[in-house]
Symmetry: C2
Subunit: 356 residues, 2 copies
Amino acid sequence: MKNDRFLRALARQPVDRVPVWLMRQAGRYLPEYRATRERAGSFLALAKNPEFACEVTLQPLARFPLDAAILFSDILTIPDAFGLGLHFIDGEGPRFARRIESASDVANLPEANVVEALSYVSDAVSLIRKELNDSVPLIGFSGAPWTLFCYMLEGGGSTHYHRAKRFMLDEAKAAHQLLNKLADAVIEYLIMQAKAGAQVLMLFDSWAGLLAAPHYFEFCERYLRKIVHAIKADPASANLPLIVFAKGANLHLESLSMLGCDALGLDWTVPIGEARKLTGGRVALQGNLDPAVLYAAPDQIRSEVALLLEEATTAPGHIFNLGHGMNPDMLPEHAAVVVDAVHSYSAAQRARTSLA
Amino acid sequence: MKNDRFLRALARQPVDRVPVWLMRQAGRYLPEYRATRERAGSFLALAKNPEFACEVTLQPLARFPLDAAILFSDILTIPDAFGLGLHFIDGEGPRFARRIESASDVANLPEANVVEALSYVSDAVSLIRKELNDSVPLIGFSGAPWTLFCYMLEGGGSTHYHRAKRFMLDEAKAAHQLLNKLADAVIEYLIMQAKAGAQVLMLFDSWAGLLAAPHYFEFCERYLRKIVHAIKADPASANLPLIVFAKGANLHLESLSMLGCDALGLDWTVPIGEARKLTGGRVALQGNLDPAVLYAAPDQIRSEVALLLEEATTAPGHIFNLGHGMNPDMLPEHAAVVVDAVHSYSAAQRARTSLA
């Protein structure tokens, strides 16, 4: 690996500068992405074609000296593999043709053959690995069961996810059946990506922060734990660093740090120093700049990056990222400022510390 | 006061049963509210007419044995008083005719004569107090500066409030000018409501949870502190219990508990036992059932209420509420179940404790 900063930080080893990648670093804010999508015809045609997926995965790496690549895909591939009919409406986000409405819908849900239905993901991972040629590590990922459950019950995005919560409360048994099916599929999916060449794995639980604590432990974290244990028990994936991003679940960081994963993603609302205390050195931490900072002027961006790096200190185990994904209306030039500011400030910070 | 449970709980005195009221207890989920709104012609015509506002304030109290009334109004009355032209588009929420776009917009913002511009609120408070006839206490309220700032910069609701955050970062000086103007207006507004007869005051900072910690302290909590100090320094309002609800700011509960207010509102994501530890007995706590529980079946609602009351224990200083406002598609019958479950379970809990 030519640049192993990301892997070293995940292993909580010292680095010459803090590694950085940006959630949704491949996406609509890049004109070259929009051109590829135009050629592909639609978001799904792009995501389901390994060549296109490879092309857009590599685009941000050609622009910025990023320390990791992340597979271009969607977090909703698994519900799609369960036959719910994923599609995208421009400007409105993901929609499913069918949604889960009852316990019998759960019972009648066909088994998903993840490896077969999502072979395009496996093909994309292999192709990206080949094209990366060991320049930087490749991250494979999946949506986490609670978040997939929310989308499957709502049939798409939602403001408050009331259908999902009502089902969880009124049909707890069926909810657990569905969450178990999803966890099993996620395990199979991540192991498939590991076998295809992913070097780091990441779980996105975007809606972990929606729940009251008892529901969080019962319907969300429990399934993260199941997945982490299975990934760490399988020879194909046991040695891959695993990152869990339970967005908004900052009150549960201590518990999350005991899942057995290697790193936790942080949204921007928790100070990284506080997160380090709560997680007691058990995991590396990935984050956590407020993505809105990318809308600010370059000088302001640099000063916010510096503030975060000072809060993080030079202690090992920090991967710089945003606290949430990039948006289509962000400027590529501002992403460049973030990446440069992270590298240059953290290098200077280390030089300063070694002199002291 | 015929029913002083709410005031006793705010003073952290023992109560025979836990007092309960529900955020947005007067609203579209009630058919009688929809009928009044129909007669008024629009939401704003309703909110700006003291007779209509009084009528809808009292409607939930006629249905349910609630322990408090809250003035029917909107959190955006103050930006409206600054001349931004508040209006409502059905199904889309609040919009302003003008929004703040630059530092010069802040400098040129006319002074708001809150007492004159919002005299309809003062009139509504007086009328409601008269009609309540000391049955239960009346809560007056205001939106808090950071939340008002967000709406004024965005011109309405928003997903991520990027305009507001960009202005905060790039135009920090003008942001503070605006936040100071808003804080002064909020102080004047709450004192006006106190003079008109409000018996409890509440500040809603709905977007407190959007911010990274350094921004939270600088642009949000600082102005809550300014208001709390001014309210506690004015003879007209000093003796009124003051509740601060900084939604989503659960990582800052310890700091919030030192503001000098009497109670903190809690959203549903923080366990109330944990919140009590963080706030060290300095304040009463109001909350914090996940509002989505109202979509569940009555048995399930009762069991979730019991779970929360067990977590809260019988320690003094708990006012039961939802962790966020009620929605138009909730069933009035389910609100009745919550109120009854709180009263009956907490009374039994106290009987059990006194026997033990």
